[in-house]
Structure formats: structure tokens, C-alpha cells
């Protein structure tokens, strides 16, 4: 299924793309096999793509290869000056900045952005209360150019919730001058701006591997082969991936980017930057259209406390956008200890709170989605430069946790990387200058000031809040110590025997919903006849460790019900992976106790279809 958005480069340059070498073309048509129903069901697209019932043989045992690396067919190779992986705020800001510098200095660099989502913006999900600081620097005319930023924050509420009450607390946020937006919409607009400047954006193409030269320098990325069946064989429409080479490669894959993680491991970038491990949270969000009498454009609500317990860091948000739409969600830190916690169910429970439900009554859900986000802040920033490129945005991790904002810092990091890249390609700079640029920028300043808020919660909710108060009113980051993070998220999970199962209320279908219903609202789709993109490093561990020791936490934290344990014919519980449900949130890659689950990128064009998230 083609889910491509065509690209109109209105670039003035004649040499639109440096299409130097198109080597031997990819595969010719093989003879058509017996008809393959894989793409559509018989009765016009009503297949239960989100069925929780296990499909036969959907277990990812010894995973078939995603690419025929030993194939004698060479891949087409396309060369650019700069390749950006990911058309998100960081990636697009970098691309835009590069083209701006080109126009300013009369230079000409070819910039290509590859994006695994079917459209720019399809995989973008965020709260989002937007601080326009970086956008003001990047595109100061954004208002005149009709950026979808038109709901200024009108009120800032902060509640501590108990089961039945909402206690108003002084708001720690300073959101004056900020806007309530849909980041997916803003990124789509950024995409059009980038294309106007001559950036080539290719949605529907997933960068699945890094390309190296003989000196271990990164020279670009390779996209997935398309049209491989679940068993690893080539389908009728098999299409070899292409090599997209760049003199500089910028990785902007968002939080826990699959290629970024590999690069950070390979070049030891965390150690090199003196950084701790990254810590994460899982955000689950819905956009509702509510009764207009209850809608107050620009109203911002944050809560702490119920339904999460004192040991689990997290909170909720409720933002009023325009057109009677609100964003509502729950963010749960992934270093929770109780393996029975189900963040999705906590969110559904949260919506029933007496202070929250009135907003939602009479409304309808428009979209649903989930994504992990960085909470490591300053202490977790890795050295972001590797031979041949750099990591930008949330893949490195610049989210300001107490502000709960990461878009502005992600954009700024992209812009700084672009400026250094421009210098590198004109042979006046070294890519390592990016590290200096970051440290001299307001990103560093901001994250340094914010560095102790989150780690303080290692000591519990009350000490955390106490320190937050202290920080906010008195210290403001001006103290000599820097608190450390606790255990890595996957190590924090306790054995199941130390806790008891949590009984979550059943979905009422009005305020709360079951996973299949929510998943349908995320417009998630994957070509289902493809090898599962969620790989088990050791296929025995789910049944020998995850299930007996931790009571299968993946069946609880995954907001898409990808992981299910189902009894087989011998009444043994076996793991089934419903890879086509995947929302690309990366929670499993982060939280699996033995780090046995590896999230790899599926065929391009698959995944959620966010438009107002």
C-alpha cells in the first residue's frame, strides 16, 4: 500500500538532487505466485487488524532477516550532502536551518530527510504546550506564514489529586507567551516550509541500518527492503531498500531512536559525554472533542497524585486547543517498581476522577496514541557527535522535565547541528564543535537549572515535591550538587512476588475504553505480512524470566497490546507478538527487564497515523 506524500521541491537550484550514482537497478518482477491476501481482506478493509486474538505463527522466534544482505543484487545508492533521519521538530529544524544558511551564503547543499511514517507528522505526538523560543529564531515570520499556533495559554492550573478530590496548588509553570498546539500539525507545517526551501522529504521510508566506510565512519543510511513476507521470503512486490548516503548524517529519530541507540553504543557516546543512563516515561494521550460549553481555549491543567502511588512518578495533562478539542493524557515514569502497573489502565482510570470527568462527558474521542519521552535531562545527555554525523533532538535527549517541554530544545539542537554541519561541509569546522555549541546555548543553561527536579523524586513523592518547591522558589539550580538518577528503568522492576496484581475497572465505553477501541483511533496500520519488527534477543526469556519472575510486564506496559501470553495446545502460556498493533512508542525496548526486546523499524509507511496529536 502506498502511503506516500509526493514532494514538490520548489528549489531554485537546477541541480535539485545530486543523483550521482544509480547503480544496478533492483529486482525485476518475479512470476506472480498464488494470490496473496496479505494486503487487504476480502471484504473491503474490514479486517480485524487490531485483533487481540493471536494470529498463527506470529511469534518472533529466530527472526527472519529484514534485508537480504547476502543478496547479490546491489542496492541503488543516492548521495546527498546531508541526510537527516526523522522528519520531526529537530530533523526539520536542522534541514530548514541548513537551507537558510545556503541561501544566505550563496552555497548549495542537498538535504534529504527520510521519515518512517506514511506522512510527515504521522508519528508525531506530544502534549503540547509550545514555547516558541526556537521557532522565533528559526522562522520569525511564523505567525504571518500561518503556522498552526493560534491558541495562547489562558490559564495554568495545577492540582494534586486524591481519589475523590482535587487540591489546587500554586502552578510551578510559567506558560505566559506559550501556546497550546498540536505538534503533529506544527510539524506538518514545518515540513511544507522545509520543502519550500528545497529540502527533499521522503515519508514512507524507514532508515533501518547505518552505512559505514572502511574507517568506521558513518556515510549514510540504508532503507528497509520492502515486500518481505512473515517467513522471510520475498513477496511479489519485493523491493530492495536504497542506500541514502550523506557527507553528514543527522539522526533525529525521537526518544530512544533505534539507530541512535546503536550509534551511542558503538561509539560509547554516553561515557564520552560523562553521562548517566537515560531515564524515560511513557505518555498516553487522547484528543477529545468536547461540549463547547466546557471548552476554554488555552486552558492548561496539570495534575499529580492519584491514580499513581507515592512510589510512581508521573502526572497528567489536560490542554484546551481550538475547535472544542482538548488533549488529555497521563505520563508514567518507566522506573516504576510494581510489575503489575498498567499505564494504559491508569490513564483510563484517571479520566473518571470527579474533577476530570466533567470535561469529557458529552464529548467524543478523536485520536489516541502513546510515546515514550526522556526524563534524564542534563545528567543523561550523551556526547552527540560521531564520525560522520551527530544526534539531535530527543534521540540525544534535551527535554526539560520540570517544564515538561522538549520541543523547543529539540528544535534548537537541530538548528545548532545545522550551523556546525554547514561549517563542516565548507571545511571550516569540525563536527565536534556541535558539543561546544550545545554547551554555549540556552539549551544547556535551561537543562542545567532544571537538573535536580526529577532525580529528587527518587526519594519519594513528598521529598520530591519539597525539593521542587525549594528549587523553584529559592535555589533555581544554583547549588553545587547534581543529583544522580536511580536505577535504569528496566532494572527498577521488582519481582512480581513482592506485589499483588492490580484490579483495574472495566472500560465503560464512554469515558474509558479497551485497547482495541483506542488502537483503532490511532489509525495504526502495518503491512501485516512482514517479519515482526520486535525482536527477541533470546527467544526463551519471555517464558523463562518475564512470565515467572515479573508476571509478564510487557503485557501491561505496552499501550497497544502487542505482547500477549496465550495458552497453547499443551496449556503452556506462550508469548505472541501482535507486531502490527505497534504504536512505535519504544516502551518495550526501554522497560523489558532483561533488555531482551529490541525494537527495530518495520516497513516504511507503517505505524500510527496521528494528525491532531
Amino acid at each position: 500500500m502506498l502511503k506516500l506524500r509526493s514532494v514538490f521541491s520548489k528549489s531554485k537550484s537546477n541541480n535539485l538532487f545530486h543523483l550521482r550514482s544509480l547503480t544496478k537497478s533492483s529486482t525485476s518482477q518475479s512470476s506472480p505466485p498464488a494470490y496473496d491476501f496479505s494486503r487487504y481482506s476480502q471484504n473491503a478493509f474490514s479486517f480485524s487488524k487490531h485483533s487481540s486474538l493471536p494470529a498463527p505463527a506470529s511469534i518472533s522466534r529466530v527472526p527472519p532477516s529484514r534485508s537480504f544482505a547476502t543478496d547479490s543484487e546491489a542496492r541503488d545508492s543516492i548521495e546527498y550532502d546531508v541526510v537527516v533521519v526523522g522528519a520531526g521538530p529537530a530533523g526539520l529544524s536542522a534541514a530548514i536551518r541548513l537551507k537558510q544558511l545556503c541561501h544566505q551564503k550563496g552555497a548549495d547543499l542537498s538535504v534529504c530527510v527520510v521519515e518512517k511514517g506514511a506522512e510527515v507528522g504521522a508519528h508525531i505526538i506530544s502534549g503540547n504546550v509550545f514555547e516558541p523560543r526556537a521557532l522565533d529564531e528559526l522562522l520569525p515570520q511564523w505567525k504571518q506564514e500561518e503556522a498552526p499556533i493560534n491558541t495562547p495559554v489562558s490559564s495554568d492550573k495545577f492540582w494534586f489529586l486524591t481519589k475523590n478530590r482535587a487540591i489546587s496548588l500554586p502552578s510551578p509553570f510559567h506558560n505566559k507567551g506559550n501556546y497550546v498546539i498540536s505538534l503533529s500539525q506544527l510539524v506538518r507545517w514545518l515540513g511544507t516550509k522545509a520543502e519550500e526551501l528545497g529540502v527533499e522529504i521522503y515519508p514512507g521510508f524507514a532508515a533501518s541500518e547505518i552505512l559505514y566506510d572502511a574507517n568506521n565512519k558513518v556515510i549514510g543510511i540504508g532503507t528497509n527492503d520492502m515486500g518481505i513476507a512473515k517467513d522471510g521470503s520475498k513477496k511479489e512486490n519485493f523491493q530492495r531498500g536504497v542506500e541514502v548516503k550523506g557527507r553528514i548524517t543527522l539522526l533525529a529519530e525521537g526518544c530512544r531512536g533505534s539507530l541512535s541507540e546503536k550509534i551511542m553504543g558503538k561509539y560509547n557516546l554516553r561515557e564520552k559525554g560523562g553521562a548517566q543512563h537515560q531515564t524515560y516515561a511513557l505518555g498516553i494521550k487522547e484528543v477529545w472533542e468536547i461540549d463547547e460549553k466546557k471548552h476554554q481555549p488555552g486552558e492548561v491543567v496539570h495534575t499529580l497524585g492519584w491514580p499513581l502511588d507515592h512510589k510512581t512518578y508521573g502526572g497528567s495533562f489536560l490542554y484546551h486547543m481550538k475547535d472544542n478539542q482538548i488533549s488529555i493524557g497521563l505520563v508514567v515514569a518507566l522506573n516504576y517498581q510494581n510489575p503489575f502497573i498498567n499505564p494504559y489502565e491508569e490513564f483510563q482510570k484517571f479520566k473518571h476522577h470527579p474533577a476530570i470527568r466533567p470535561y469529557l462527558e458529552g464529548g467524543t474521542v478523536i485520536q489516541y496514541g502513546a510515546r515514550t519521552l526522556n526524563e534524564g535531562g542534563f545528567q543523561s545527555i550523551p556526547y552527540p557527535v560521531f564520525p560522520g554525523g551527530a544526534i539531535i533532538g530527543c534521540s540525544a535527549g534535551f527535554l526539560n522535565v520540570p517544564k515538561i517541554k522538549g520541543t523547543h530544545t529539540a528544535m534548537k539542537s537541530g538548528m545548532l547541528a545545522a550551523e556546525v554541519t554547514f561549517g563542516v561541509l565548507n571545511e571550516v569546522l569540525d563536527m565536534d564543535m556541535y558539543w561546544n555549541a550545545l554547551r554555549n546555548s540556552w539549551i544547556w543553561d535551561e537543562l542545567y537549572k532544571a537538573r535536580n527536579y526529577r532525580p529528587a523524586f527518587e526519594y519519594g513523592l513528598i521529598p520530591g515535591l519539597a525539593l521542587s518547591g525549594l528549587e523553584h522558589y529559592l535555589l533555581r539550580g544554583k547549588h553545587p550538587f547534581t543529583l544522580k538518577h536511580g536505577k535504569a528503568d528496566h532494572e527498577a522492576t521488582n519481582a512480581a512476588q513482592l506485589h499483588s496484581p492490580i484490579q483495574y475497572p472495566k472500560a465503560d465505553g464512554v469515558l474509558s475504553f479497551d485497547v482495541p477501541t483506542s488502537l483503532h483511533r490511532s489509525n495504526t496500520n502495518h503491512e501485516h505480512d512482514q517479519p515482526p519488527h520486535l525482536r527477541l534477543r533470546d527467544p526463551k526469556i519471555p517464558e523463562t524470566v518475564n512470565l515467572p519472575v515479573y508476571a509478564a510486564p510487557e503485557s501491561r506496559y505496552c499501550p497497544a497490546r502487542v505482547y500477549e501470553y496465550v495458552a497453547d495446545e499443551h496449556n503452556q502460556l506462550k508469548l505472541h507478538i501482535n507486531a502490527q498493533n505497534c504504536l512505535h512508542c519504544k516502551a518495550c525496548d526501554i522497560k523489558d527487564p532483561k533488555q531482551n526486546i529490541e525494537w527495530t523499524v518495520p516497513e516504511g509507511g507503517g505505524g500510527p497515523g496521528y494528525s491532531v496529536m
Binding site: 500500500m1 500539525q185 511479489e236 512486490n237 495504526t524 494528525s611
Partner: protein, 251 residues
């Protein structure tokens, strides 16, 4: 031999559809649009015929507002040689589309027109048949297999009908509409998407083609299907008969 393929830009099949609050239609704002899946199959078939050497050119035609160019470029990226965009901001019903196609045929003179059997937004299943009627050409609809004999100027089409498969032999020029089982469309590769940017697209308006877009259908109301009611367990046959007689009123 030239093949003309009509492609339509519709709401992507994976999107969850919502009815607009004023009930005049479905929400299309901020909603993902794609090429109609049956049109993809039609284009794929045309490309295969050309690749087997039996045709020289595949022309893709689309009609609608300027955003339709995205869909047309996708068609070019799959492999169509040229594109035609008939620009119109009014709603185009099957008869309008059929008339425009008929007039385009006089300009382009293809020997074969391939369309999807229906669009997934209106499910009309009319355009192909109307085009054939207007042109007085033979039609092979719901095609699950297409075999072209260039010398004899014939095309043999297996049609999926209610009682099974019906095979018809049509003299060219002919109209074919494609069903699901015909083929599996190819992915557009990155190099092809790049090449597609420079493929020519000719623009027309309905007026230039002497077709007046006068709405002959008025959409009165669009509503969601009624929510499925829960089933009711009955305790005896008598109760069942009673309910069928008095509640469902079917006996």
C-alpha cells in the same frame, strides 16, 4: 498501444472516519488521503502490461482539487509515464468523471482504459461502466485476471461474479475495472519518486473538455450506522416466537 488509468484520491483506508457534526459529510480536514486501493491495482495492471511489451505508454488521470497532484505523483512514481490532472473544486460524481474521461479519450486515444471497480469513499461502482456506455466500448468489470492479445486486438478478462468466475473476451478498445485479486501493487522506490518529479503532467479543466459539472445528486444527510444493539438471550422457543412476532414484527 496506450493505456489510460483513472486514479482517485480518497481518505486512506486505515483512517478512522468521523461524520461531521452538521451531518453533511465526513471529516476530511487533517485526515490522511491516499490513492484508492482499487486504482492502485488498476495502475499496477497497466504497468505490467506495458512491462510485458504489449503497451507503449501508461497515462494516469486524476480529477479534483490541486491536492490531487500528490496522488498523481504517486502514480508517476509507481511507473506511469505521464499524468493528466483535470482540476475542479466541485464535487465530481461518477457521471461527470465518465463524461470527462470520454472526452479525454478523444484527445489521448488509448486502446485500453483501466479503472478501479469502485472508490472506497463512495462505493459507487459506476464510473467504469458509464465510461464504457458513453464510448460504446466493451467492458470487463471486477477483473481478477487480464490477458491481452495484441495481434488479435482482444483482451480476455476473468470477472468475479456472484456465482464464481466469468470469462469474457473483449475487442479493443475496451474498459476494464479491477477487483482485489487481480494483483498486488508495487511499492514506489525512492529513485522512482525522484524521477517522477520530472514526468510531465498536463492540466485541463472540465470546461476545456466541454463537460458541465452540474450536480445531479444532492447529499441530504450523512449519519453513522446505528450502533449495534446487544443480543438478547431467550429462554424458550415460545419466547422467541413471541419476540419475533411482537417486537421484531417479522412473522
Amino acid at each position: 498501444m496506450k493505456i489510460m488509468v483513472a486514479i482517485k484520491r480518497v481518505i486512506d483506508y486505515a483512517v478512522k472516519i468521523r461524520v461531521k457534526p452538521d451531518k453533511t459529510g465526513v471529516v476530511t480536514q487533517n485526515v490522511k488521503m491516499s490513492m484508492n486501493p482499487f486504482c492502485e491495482i488498476a495502475l499496477e495492471e497497466a504497468l505490467r502490461i506495458r512491462e510485458s511489451g504489449l503497451a507503449s505508454e501508461v497515462v494516469a488521470v486524476t480529477m479534483g482539487p490541486s491536492q490531487c497532484l500528490d496522488t498523481l505523483r504517486t502514480g508517476l512514481a509507481m511507473g506511469a509515464d505521464r499524468g493528466i490532472h483535470v482540476e475542479s473544486t466541485s464535487a465530481l460524481h461518477p457521471l461527470h468523471v465518465a463524461k470527462i474521461l470520454r472526452n479525454l479519450v478523444e484527445i489521448e486515444k488509448p486502446s485500453l482504459i483501466i479503472l478501479g471497480k469502485q472508490a472506497i469513499d463512495d462505493d459507487c461502482n459506476q464510473t467504469g461502466q458509464m465510461v464504457a456506455g458513453l464510448l460504446n466500448w466493451p467492458q470487463g468489470t471486477f477483473a481478477s485476471k487480464v490477458v491481452l492479445d495484441k495481434e488479435k486486438k482482444e483482451v480476455t478478462v476473468d470477472r468475479e461474479v456472484d456465482d464464481g468466475i466469468e470469462t469474457v473476451q473483449l475487442n479493443l478498445p475496451a474498459v476494464i475495472t479491477t477487483d482485489l485479486r487481480l494483483n498486488q501493487p508495487r511499492y514506489a522506490t525512492l529513485p522512482n519518486i525522484m524521477k517522477a518529479k520530472s514526468k510531465p503532467i498536463k492540466k485541463f479543466t472540465p470546461q476545456e473538455l466541454n463537460v458541465e459539472i452540474k450536480p445531479d445528486l444532492e447529499i441530504v444527510e450523512v449519519t453513522e450506522p446505528p450502533k449495534r444493539k446487544a443480543g438478547v438471550m431467550v429462554s424458550s422457543v415460545d419466547e422467541l416466537i413471541h419476540k419475533l412476532k411482537n417486537e421484531a414484527k417479522v412473522i
